[in-house]
């Protein structure tokens, strides 16, 4: 049955997934191209010098891309479920409701993780050819909270979308903005290094929120 759930989620999200993959790889590739241009015109030594002396990481453009991709994934996946209350059909299936919701979230997360890992691989493979391992790690660790924000954004917006009452949706949205702000409090590279386990914990905790919305849906909460 879980295969059928993945199948349904795949039908909803497949075109968006392709778009998200191309978009994120496109932006990551563009950032790498900018670095490559500096190397071609001014040499790798200049790139290293700029990075070390001015704390530049060259991938700032990516900062909000994973978040945007995660939010849109939740909208693409869960708005059709709430359209005409289609979620009733899903929850009526002879499959435990909690497992159903978690499988749906897992399918969205799996696609996002695939997308984000491909970004990291692209950046990692290129950067280790032109930079010292410490500098590659410096860039990737700076980007990691942004990608975690993408996953958390997906989970929080899923929570908002699945909520049956508009008033509560607005409250959930406000809480989501507040939580997501935590991921963007500092623009200093690697500022979050010691905080990453906490950010990861926020992401894991956000998984359970959608279930609260579904429980409210099941008891018929409305405006």
């Amino acid at each position: 049955m879980w295969k059928a759930i993945f199948y349904k989620e795949w039908i909803k999200t497949r075109w968006y997934f392709v778009l998200a993959l191309l978009l994120t790889l496109g932006f990551a590739g563009y950032c790498l191209l900018r670095m490559n241009r500096v190397i071609v015109f001014q040499g790798p030594a200049h790139l290293w010098e700029v990075m070390l002396s001015r704390d530049v990481i060259f991938i700032d453009l990516l900062q909000y891309i994973p978040l945007l991709v995660g939010i849109l994934m939740a909208i693409v996946q869960f708005v059709p479920e709430m359209h005409h209350k289609c979620l009733k059909l899903t929850l009526h299936l002879p499959y435990p409701a909690l497992r159903m919701v978690m499988t749906m979230l897992l399918s969205g997360l799996a696609l996002l993780v695939f997308c984000f890992v491909s970004n990291f691989l692209l950046m990692g493979i290129y950067l280790q050819q032109v930079l010292a391992p410490e500098m590659t790690k410096h860039i990737l660790m700076t980007a990691l909270p942004w990608y975690l924000a993408g996953l958390t954004g997906y989970l929080l917006v899923s929570w908002v979308c699945l909520e049956p009452a508009w008033k509560r949706r607005v409250i959930n949205l406000a809480i989501s903005v507040f939580v997501l702000k935590i991921f963007y409090m500092s623009s200093t590279p690697e500022a979050y290094n010691s905080f990453i386990p906490w950010l990861f914990m926020y992401t894991v905790m956000a998984t359970s929120l959608s279930w609260l919305s579904v429980l409210r849906f099941k008891i018929g909460k409305q405006d």
Binding site: I11, H83, K88, P94, I219
Partner: protein, 294 residues
Amino acid sequence: MENIIECIDLTHYYGKRMIYENLSFSVPRGRILGLLGKNGTGKTTTINILSGYLKPRSGKCLIFGQEIQKMDPVLRQNIGLLIEGHVQYQFMNIEQIEKFYASFYPRWKKEAYYELMNKLKVAPGQRISRMSCGQRSQVALGLILAQDPELLVLDDFSLGLDPGYRRLFVDYLREYALSENKTVFLTSHIIQDMERLIDDCIMMDYGSILIQQPVRQLLDTIRCYTATVPEGFELQPEEGLYHPSVRKNKLEVFSFLPAEDMEAKLKEKQVPFNDLKADKLNLEDAFIGLTGKY
């Protein structure tokens, strides 16, 4: 006879507005029961409670002996649900939706679904979002028939359908329910369709059940009485006399009383009447007679 649905003392409010109080009814196996009521009497509320998407303020609702909110998910294999407006996954096409549902139901009858789909003359790859309401109704019905549930819960099945599709839906459903001894609980705004389909009816008034009985028994006993009365005369409603009205000098009143009893009753109330006539009614007229036009 074994009850498939049993609702006991259901009470529900939206905010401070009471929908109904201590509503109890049951649906025995193999019967087709229609829930009739004006807008706002709680038909959709009842369907939502029955399908587990609304928790009543008090009372309980049992299906196959289990409380719906705590029901074992596996038992839902035996409940076919049609949501108002024949809602189905709009993003799927005919083949995808069949493939999706088939995984959840062990008794899945693919051929029952495709038999109905072949009549639609739509391409297998056509998305449900691009279908007419009539075509969508056939997809929803086909999926329910393929699921082969013991109980069908249908919310306003005639909504948005033209007469042809309504007739097709009703005929298919009735034949299926009778041949397979299925239990059906349904609502519809179009009462003529109900008359062709249902065995029993529940008529709801604001806050309570007005009547619950077999349709045949209802139509055999209810009468519309007309008589000539002086202009300006008014007859007050009372037990046994439903929605009396006088237009010019014509009195109209609905009742389950036989003609002799009605005559006696009018005399007892000193109504100055002539030419008392009793007419048999169809289900729609009976519904209007019992619940009123307003």
